[in-house]
């Protein structure tokens, strides 16, 4: 069996205590919530924290509050969100994204915070230590070369979160807590430029809350491309949010994911769409524009060329659904 390395295990009672432990332990400590991302990585010896700081007893980070805005505790399980009927009605795109993650069993364990902080993925990286030895390791872990782009100076591991593109499109904010205090950032600000430094969250910070502002009249959609109906991470994902003024686009957010190390906000496409009617021609043009921002490489399932092609199809379908 694949076995975990050893570690010290701590289970604080609240966010403040968690932050305190993280400060005390330094960079050798890691937070674990559902464990569905971290434990496989530890078994494959990607990460071997000396101390695991578990959120299992941290109840102040659970729950969903719905006023105008929706506030979700980072430690809320994916299954909890999936079973939240009001969330399904109010934020169907987010619900769709949550419901599409891996499998029902895994969603019983995984948390929204874990999905937001999901380690970037690459099939040169998500392999056992022995396998990685065969390629002399890679830039992201224990090695120097990014094998999917050997001349690259940065890591191309893929942000494969389902909820992140939707949260960005919806203008969500993340609250991070450390012993240095609390800060709230725009969702997109959470994500770094490459597959190694993929989070701007500091090692001593705990993601505590996700706040999604009142969506008003805007409607959103999430579309995910993958091989199978369960288990699989996205190989291309599109989140779109549109606010219409009559039959014209008043505001639009279009975010791609799983096509590079960082979620892609399609700014020029958004500009292009503003004030336009979503005719089939406009949607087609927008889809082409948006696909330019996608830079899939050969490090996930499916061929990268095909993924690039379906990005535009999926953008078209996403906007079509919001028409």
């Amino acid at each position: 069996m694949m076995r975990l390395p050893s570690f010290r295990y701590l289970a604080p009672k609240d966010a403040a205590e968690t932050a305190k432990i993280l400060t005390g332990e330094g960079p050798d400590a890691m937070i674990v919530a559902g464990g569905t991302d971290l434990y496989p990585n530890m078994k494959r010896r990607h990460q071997m924290p000396k101390t695991l700081v578990s959120l299992r007893n941290v109840n102040d980070l659970r729950g969903v509050e719905m006023n105008g805005a929706v506030t979700i505790g980072s430690n809320e399980t994916l299954r909890g969100l999936e079973r939240n009927a009001e969330l399904k009605t109010r934020l169907p795109a987010l619900w769709t994204a949550v419901q599409s993650i891996s499998t029902p069993i895994l969603r019983n364990m995984g948390t929204i915070g874990g999905n937001v902080c999901l380690d970037t993925r690459c099939n040169y990286y998500n392999q056992n230590w022995e396998w990685r030895r065969g390629i002399d390791f890679c830039m992201k872990c224990d090695g120097t070369v990014c094998w999917v782009a050997p001349s690259s100076s940065v890591c191309w591991a893929v942000n494969s979160s389902d909820t992140v593109p939707v949260l960005i499109a919806m203008g969500a904010k993340f609250t991070l807590v450390s012993t240095r205090g609390e800060r709230t950032i725009e969702a997109i600000e959470m994500f770094g430029e490459d597959g190694i430094d993929y989070l701007t969250k500091q090692k001593d910070e705990v993601l505590t809350r996700i706040e999604i502002p009142d969506q008003g009249n805007a409607t959103s959609v999430y579309r995910k491309v993958r091989r199978r109906g369960a288990f699989d991470f996205p190989v291309a994902a599109v989140a779109a949010r549109v606010e219409m003024d009559g039959d014209e686009v008043k505001d639009v957010n279009l975010v791609l994911n799983a096509v590079g190390p960082k979620p892609v906000v399609c700014e020029s496409t958004q500009e292009f769409l503003k004030g336009k009617k979503l005719t089939p021609e406009v949607v087609e043009e927008a889809a082409k524009l948006a696909a330019r921002g996608a830079k899939p490489l050969d490090n996930t399932d499916h061929l990268s060329m095909w993924r690039k092609k379906v990005v535009s199809v999926e953008v078209k379908r996403a906007l079509g659904a919001l028409r």
């Binding site: 998500n126 091989r227 109906g229 399932d301």
Partner: protein, 827 residues
């Protein structure tokens, strides 16, 4: 009355024949599997569920380079680690092994070279898995890297540093060329000659249970090994050979397999290493592979590049076929020689094919070895043939169902390559799926994006010849009677989920008229059970079933004699049913089964009788005729409905209709389960499963994990309507034929044919993935598939006259070499 050999039947035998004619107690019904409740309560002990006191854990240190000479192995750090009890390298196990006598090319631990990433080089035994894992990583091997070869087309040319020093030449493991009839003449006579290239990507078994073995040196020095193997008999042979222990002192117990599908049919290095370490340390040793390691064991589907050339008459009749296959064998021989022959064997048994030529080559490459996966060597050519027929039907304006129905291989006939076809139920299979799917009304008429595809197949019910040459039975069963009416049945068969335990019990219970609960099975144990060759080649039901029938019949004969005397009834009139033995003319006049057993024991002494089965002789006598013959062939047909997204190429399989010619179901529920399971596995192969490597990145396996090797989930599995065609085959027990492998075969071509009906493009490559569909849709010739075929360098073709030509099944010896390959030769 007499049996097949002309021997007159005894009154007791006649009584049994009469009894069976009146109807079955159990056969064809669906009683609960004998191991059903054990499996649903967690009681079934799989290999890794076993453990013994003082047990050590074994890990293998595997090569991280694809091809290299081993210069030195430093195990000192591992040996020094606290908790490590023993470290082993290849020097301690110098004797090679392999499943086929002609391919004894594996060492339990590599000695001279490593041949793929994952090839084991050293082993450690430690107090637990954590320590063993750590010690395994502390072993340092110095390699002198060699130039690896990953592409079989390149392997054909690469002779400088071949992987092995045996084989036909260089990296060519096996080259075969056989010509039956006048193939060139057949192309001249044809109205249409179609030639196309096809590729079938490799894929793997992916049993949920990872391989595991527990080995124990008994206090008297003998060895017992529990292992999840489909072939304990062959493991027994290899184990005693490599360990240099007399077979009589080595005992292999096959634990129930948590799925096999062919992946546990070879003797494996980890089994031998584990046993050796148990002998060395004098402590029980266990090894349980990780999922990644199971990918390195592999022995799955050979990636196969094919060229199919067929002549057709206007009415769709094939005049002749020239089929070529190039198999990517991976690093070792495994079953590869047989796999190569199998790619050329069964093209002849479904439709009339008077002239046939087959060229096949298997090459070594620096990847995990390929071998037998469900369908062994036949899914690849079956895919090519069935898509080819679909093409021909279109060219000739014939309904794809009719081009098959009108030219079926006749029953009780001899094919061009000298296979004897007995019962043949393909016609009714096609008619069933055509009717159920609404084919006649819907085919070619569904809206763009939706399509129907049809394909057929056939498979052997056990190979006519054993893996190593011998004239002994292929299966043996012993039946031992207990005074209380219990029956102990002993057989070397291996339960791998297919239901062989239940089939064994049902065959005995039917003959003796008792219930399944009165039977105790002892199976898969080389120490206590008669040999059954193993759960491969769909042989178990037919061969074990016949052996069980014979053993039970012999027991019944003794019981009937004794009971007849007591009841003063001629034993021909005795019936065995409901745990009673009684007079058919006066059913009240009888004995309990237990009482009858007591009378028999009184009369004959302790009763333990054996039955065995050896397949009939085959008509083909030429070199290579050993692959393909079978006592009976099963047939299957499938219609598949797909929905293709024309913008993305994504294909959803919406519905599958499948019909299977089973001869006679032993247990109908298990038969349907095998059909559905075969369809599922075929579906995975058809649309998503791929065993691929990165040749530009040192030859690593691209995706050795359950996440990235795509096994269909509940979402991908469509509804399946199954139809069984029952026309008992005289060679099968109660008329039964195989079902474990055949129903997988039509799925892949039926999907490809359905995609053609849906969007008008041909994908001549398995799996049919969205990118290929999309590429085909945007290509000029509306096709995606291989365009080049390498020269297989056939210089020595064997010419065999067909029966039609007046042949006798032999080939001229030595085979005549034609002046140039492909020219018509009259002889």
């Amino acid at each position: 009355m007499s049996d097949d050999n002309g021997t007159p039947l005894s009154p007791e035998q006649q009584g049994l024949r009469d009894q069976l004619k009146e109807g079955y107690n159990l056969i064809g019904k669906s009683p609960i599997k004998v191991d059903g409740m054990a499996k649903t309560t967690g009681e079934t002990k799989f290999a890794d569920d076993l453990s013994l006191p003082r047990q050590l854990f074994v890990k293998l240190h595997r090569s991280h380079v694809a091809y290299a000479r081993i210069k030195s192995i430093d195990t000192s750090k591992a040996e020094a680690l606290p908790g490590v009890v023993a470290v082993l390298t290849g020097e301690s196990l110098p004797i090679p092994f392999g499943i086929l006598p002609v391919s004894q090319d594996e060492h339990a631990l590599c000695i001279d070279k490593v041949r793929f990433i994952g090839d084991p080089v050293a082993a450690v035994a430690a107090i637990d898995e954590d320590v063993a894992f750590e010690a395994m990583q502390l072993i340092h091997v110095e390699y002198e890297k060699l130039d690896p070869v990953f592409d079989p087309a390149k392997a054909l040319l690469n002779n400088e540093e071949p992987l092995h020093d045996y084989g036909d030449d260089g990296n060519v493991h096996k080259r075969v060329s056989m010509n039956f009839g006048d193939v060139e003449g057949a192309f001249d006579d044809a109205d249409l000659v179609l030639e196309e290239k096809y590729f079938f990507e490799g894929n793997t078994h992916l049993p949920l249970e990872q391989h595991a073995t527990l080995a124990w040196r008994e206090p008297d020095g003998r060895l017992t090994v529990w292992s999840c193997t489909q072939t304990p008999h062959y493991v027994h042979k290899a184990m005693s050979n490599v360990l240099e222990m007399p077979p009589s002192r080595v005992r292999i117990i096959a634990t129930p397999n948590g799925g096999g599908f062919g992946g546990k049919s070879d003797p494996f290095n980890h089994e031998i290493v584990c046993a050796k370490l148990a002998l060395i340390t004098n402590r029980p040793c266990k090894i349980a592979l990780t999922r990644e390691e199971v990918f390195y064991c592999h022995r799955g589907r050979h990636p196969t590049l094919m060229n199919m050339k067929v002549g057709f008459r206007k009415d769709g009749q094939m005049t002749g076929m020239h089929f070529q296959s190039l198999l990517d064998g991976g690093g070792y021989g495994s079953y590869g020689v047989a796999s190569t022959y199998y790619t050329g064997a069964l093209q002849t048994v479904t439709y009339k094919l008077p002239n046939y030529r087959f060229d096949g080559v298997r090459t070594f490459t620096n990847k995990p070895p390929c071998g037998p996966k469900r369908g062994h060597g036949t899914p690849q050519p079956r895919f090519a043939l069935e898509v080819h027929l679909d093409r021909a039907a279109h060219e000739l304006g014939i309904d794809p169902a009719d081009i098959r129905l009108n030219h079926l291989c006749p029953p009780d006939s001899i094919t061009a390559n000298w296979l004897k076809v007995g019962s043949m139920g393909l016609g009714p299979c096609i008619e069933k799926v055509v009717e159920a799917s609404g084919w006649r009304e819907r085919y070619g008429k569904l809206p763009h994006g939706k399509g129907l595809g049809l394909a057929c197949s056939s498979y052997i019910s056990g190979a006519g010849l054993p893996i190593y040459w011998n004239a002994m039975p292929h299966s043996g069963v012993t039946v031992q009677l207990d005074r209380g009416g219990g029956v102990a049945v002993f057989c070397g068969e291996t339960e791998i989920g297919q239901g062989s335990d239940t089939v064994l019990a049902m065959c005995v219970a039917e003959v003796l008229g008792i219930e399944l609960e009165d039977i105790r099975l002892v199976v898969g144990d080389t120490h206590t059970t008669p040999v059954d060759l193993g759960s491969y080649s769909s042989r178990v039901t037919l061969m074990m079933g016949n052996a069980a029938f014979q053993a039970a019949e012999r027991a019944r004969e003794m019981i009937a004699k004794a009971a007849g005397e007591r009841l003063e009834v001629p034993s021909v009139r005795l019936r065995f049913a409901e745990n009673r033995v009684f007079d058919v003319q006066d059913p009240e006049h009888g004995l309990t089964f237990a009482k009858a057993v007591q009378l028999a024991e009184t009369k004959f002494g302790t009763i333990a009788v054996a039955g065995s089965y050896t397949p009939p002789a085959t008509p083909g006598k030429y070199r290579g005729a050993g692959v393909g013959p079978s006592p009976a062939y099963s047939y299957s047909a499938a219609v598949i409905q797909v929905d293709v997204d024309p913008e993305t190429g994504e294909t959803v399989v919406e519905k599958i209709w499948v019909a299977h010619d089973i001869g006679q179901s032993i247990n109908e529920m298990l038969v349907i389960g095998q059909v559905e399971g075969g369809v599922y596995m075929g579906l995975g192969e058809a649309i998503m499963e791929e065993m691929t490597y990165r040749p530009n990145r040192f030859g690593v396996h691209k995706i050795p994990s359950m996440l990235e090797y795509k096994s269909p989930t509940t979402y991908e599995m469509p509804p399946v309507e199954t139809f069984l065609i029952e026309d008992p085959d005289p060679n099968g027990p109660f008329g039964a034929k195989e079902v474990g492998q055949g129903p997988l075969l039509p799925i892949m071509p039926a999907v490809a044919n359905a995609v053609f009906d849906a969007v008008g493009v041909r994908v001549d490559e398995i799996p049919v993935t969205p990118d290929k569909v999309l590429k085909a849709m945007t290509s000029k010739d509306k096709r995606y598939g291989p365009t080049k075929y390498p020269d297989l360098k056939i210089t020595d073709t064997m010419y065999v006259k067909t029966l039609e030509q007046g042949g006798d099944g032999t080939s001229p010896r030595p085979p005549k070499a034609p002046t140039s390959s492909g020219k018509k030769v009259s002889s």
